[in-house]
Structure formats: structure tokens, C-alpha cells
Amino acid sequence: MKIFWSFTRQAFQFISAYRFNFFMEFVLSILRMYGIYWVWRVLYTQKPGAFGVSLDQMVTYGVMGMALELFIWSRPQWYISNQVKSGAIDTDLMKPLDFHFYMLARSVGETMIGVSVLAIPALLVAYLVLHVQLPPDVLTGLIFAISLILGFLLLFHLNFILGSLSVVALDIRHISWAYFSVVRFLGGQIVPLWLFPTAIRAIAEVLPFKGTYFIPISIYIGTITGAEAIRAIEFQLVWVVVLVIVSRMLWGWAYRRLVVQGG
């Protein structure tokens, strides 16, 4: 626990040093929420209650999609790729810590700051201005929290895998554009899966991406409930386990490559 706390403190110091940038991030997320709010309002004037989801639920979905981007704010792949490029990765590897665990601790620390400094204040504004809903009851809120943590772990490991690839590919900037858009699309950050055409939906349903945004937010707005919610959480859990194994194997492989290169 101590180690997570020390990374949280480090992230907080980083933010205090770049206060203006973080204020900008905050303004931006409000702007994004505002944008998505209008898009859904306009679409819903054409088809009120489309697909059995009310406008309030849909707006909440959209705003939460933007807020979760702040929640899952940590980007270990950039860190790894920069360290590899500059060669400073050897100091990370010399630390008496498992590298995968070290990156996870860093991400958790950064995320705690992201949540308290960015996501929660932005959501507060959204509650006041954009009429975003609270979860229907406490139990739903609790299941949402579990699903959100699993979503964070999912995305962390996907990012970590991308970061490991940077050891081999060196420059992951371009790959990440493709990667980000896939996560946004198949994860249902902006458009929920129930609107997808059948063929794309079938693909999105089996891949891990829907566990990052779609499952937690659907639980939050109450379109996934009861036994279905439990199944959704199991889905996230299975993918987290799979991705942990893949991450560790991939990093082991990349690590050997790194040693051969001489760092």
C-alpha cells in the first residue's frame, strides 16, 4: 500500500508543477461533455426513447464516457516508450521491484490523482449543468465501482502491452492513433454497443475493449442489471486474468530483447 501512496504523492507533485495544464485538461473535459450532451439531445428529438433508453440515461452515458477517460488517465505506454527511447529504462529495471508491478503502482497513483483532481470535479459540474443522473441505488453504485476498477485494470494491461511493444517497435506514436481509435470505438466510449450494426456488435461483444467503457457505464445507467451485470463482471474478470498473463509473457520476451540491444 505504501508504494501506491508514494506514486500518488509523486503524481500530485507533478500536477502542482504544471497547474495550468491541468486546469486546461479540466476545462476541456467540460467542453467534451457539453459537446456530447448536445449531440444526444439533438438525436433524441428524432427518436425519443430510442432502443428503450431515455434521453437522461443517454446523456449520462455520454458524459460518463468522457469522465472515464480522465479516470483511466494513466498512459504507461508513453512512459515505457520514452524510457526506452532515451535509454533511461535501465534505471527503472535496476529498482528492486517487478517492472510490471512497478508500472501498475505508478498507474494507480496517477489515476487516484486523475480522479480526485479532474474526474470528480468535472462530474460535479456536469451534475449541476447537464442534468446527469446518479446511479439508481446504492447496490448499483457498488457494482459500478467494482466494474470500474476492473475496467481500469483492463485498460492498464492493454496499454502495458502496447508499451512492451515499443521495446521492439521503438516509435509507437502512429500505432497508438490506431489503438486509441479502436479502444474508443469497440469500447463504446461515445456510441454504446446497442447501436452497433449486428456484425460489428458481434465482434465487439467478444473482445476485451467493451470492458473498459461500455460495461461500467451501462451498469451505472441501469441498462445492464441483475444476473446480466454479474455475467458482465465475470467477463471483465476473465479478460483481466488473460491480459495479466499476456502482459507478463510479452514483457518477459521484450525484456530479453532489450538486454540484447544493450539498453
Binding site: L28, W38, L43
Partner: protein
């Protein structure tokens, strides 16, 4: 050498150095194609499920999006590194520009060519031609002229806005924060017609940061959507004028900034 010759010589040098990294070039192009296809896919899903967005149909939205991508790609291809000005000012490397016997502006503009942006230009062109046939548009000669003027204006507006932000670094030292904000407006104006948003947003992207002139207003003309009963209808025709005004403003601010510049000394 005059300014133009110098510019092309600089571009040539930068291109030669860029082509050393061929795998990166291909990865960049694939990344861009992916990015755009997925953006359009999201719009496509929304519009097919809800039939239209206000009174914009799917292919009209594709046109709106592609017009932006085309204009913006021209800007990015030649000038996207202007946002680096902040770093040159902070590190003091801007001094090099002043020491050489050539216009600092030409040196800044000619520093790089973002050649992966060619993919964006092609995506924009493809989108526009698909929309043109799907919407069964038949432009008269003047509309073709207006189309080319609109694309060039769009690139100039993007350049001017980015240069203005970068120039603010002459006074404040930092300009990144402002540019991040403006970038966010880009995404919204690019993908959704202004009709969707509230009047405050419309005012900002028309009057303050005139991004709507890059695609929304000219698209109204090109898609025959100008509504003469609307008091602001003439705005649809003035993109080239806005671009000219902005050029004037930028050259003024650039000169003031240069006078103001004192090296960071590092």
C-alpha cells in the same frame, strides 16, 4: 535566393531526412486511415440509427467531415510544426532564426514537411468525391471555384489560428495550454454541424476562434443548404475573406512579436 526559393529548398532538405524512416511513414499512414475510418464509422452508426442529425443526412455529414480533413491536412502537411515555436522561444534556439540572413518566418515555415498528412488529404478527397456522387450534387463552375477557395481558406485559417497561438509565446513564454483548448474545439466542429450546438458555442467558433469557416459555412453553400431567411446567411460565403483578414492579423502580430522578442539566453 528569394523567400519562395529558400522555402522550397528547406522543405526539400527536411523531406530527405524524413524519408530515412520509411517504416514510420507507413505506420503513420495506416494510423491516420484507421483514425478517420473509425471517426466516420461512429458518425455513420449514429446517423443510420437516428436517420439524421438535425437535417443533416449521413452523406452530408461525410462531406462536412471530409471538407475539414482536406483543408486541415493542407495546413498540417506544410505548417503543423508552427506549434513548435513555443519550444524554440523557451530554449532560446529562436536566436538561430534571427542570426541567419533570411526571413525568420520563412525559416520557421520551411522547417519541416509532415509528409504522412498526404494520407489525410487523400482521405478528405475520397470522402468528398463519395459524398458528391451519393448526394447527386451538380456544381456549377462558380461552385467549383468556391470549393477550391474554401479548401485553401480552410488551410489558411488553421495556419493563422495556430500561428497566432504560437505568437502569444512571444509575450507569455508559454502557448501550449491555449493550443490544447483550441484543438478540442477542432474535434467538435469537424464532426458535427453547428446546428447541433447551443448559441454560445456557435458564437465562439464563428466570432472568437473562427473554426466554423473551415467546413461548416462553406459546406452550407456547397450542399445547397443556405437558408436565405436566416439573418446570418451571408456568413456561408465569406470564408476566403476571413482567411485574408487573418493573414493580415497574423503578419501584424508576428512583427510585433519579433520586436518584443528577447532571448531566453540559454
Amino acid at each position: 535566393m528569394n523567400g519562395f526559393q529558400l522555402y522550397f529548398r528547406l522543405i526539400q532538405i527536411s523531406l530527405l531526412s524524413r524519408m530515412q524512416y520509411r517504416a514510420n511513414f507507413i505506420a503513420g499512414i495506416l494510423g491516420l486511415i484507421f483514425w478517420n475510418v473509425i471517426n466516420l464509422g461512429l458518425i455513420g452508426i449514429l446517423v443510420t440509427q437516428f436517420t439524421s442529425l438535425k437535417d443533416w443526412t449521413l452523406w452530408q455529414l461525410v462531406f462536412l467531415y471530409s471538407l475539414w480533413v482536406l483543408g486541415y491536412s493542407l495546413y498540417s502537411l506544410f505548417f503543423s510544426h508552427t506549434s513548435e515555436l513555443e519550444n524554440y522561444l523557451l530554449e532560446g534556439s529562436f536566436d538561430q532564426f534571427l542570426l541567419r540572413p533570411a526571413s525568420p518566418l520563412v525559416q520557421l515555415l520551411g522547417r519541416e514537411l509532415q509528409h504522412t498528412e498526404i494520407a489525410n488529404a487523400l482521405i478528405g478527397l475520397t470522402g468528398i468525391s463519395l459524398a458528391y456522387t451519393q448526394l447527386d450534387l451538380h456544381w456549377e463552375v462558380w461552385k467549383w471555384g468556391f470549393f477550391f477557395a474554401a479548401v485553401v481558406s480552410s488551410a489558411i485559417i488553421a495556419l493563422a489560428i495556430n500561428l497566432l497561438i504560437a505568437c502569444s509565446g512571444f509575450w507569455t513564454g508559454r502557448s501550449r495550454g491555449t493550443s490544447i483548448i483550441v484543438n478540442q474545439f477542432y474535434g467538435l466542429v469537424q464532426q458535427y454541424p453547428l446546428d447541433v450546438f447551443g448559441s454560445a458555442f456557435r458564437f465562439i467558433v464563428t466570432g472568437l476562434i473562427p473554426l466554423a469557416f473551415m467546413n461548416y459555412y462553406p459546406a452550407l453553400v456547397l450542399l445547397n443548404k443556405v437558408d436565405r431567411t436566416n439573418p446570418g446567411w451571408w456568413l456561408s460565403y465569406v470564408s476566403p475573406l476571413v482567411a485574408l483578414l487573418l493573414i493580415g492579423l497574423v503578419s501584424l502580430v508576428w512583427r510585433l512579436g519579433l520586436d518584443r522578442y528577447s532571448s531566453s539566453g540559454s
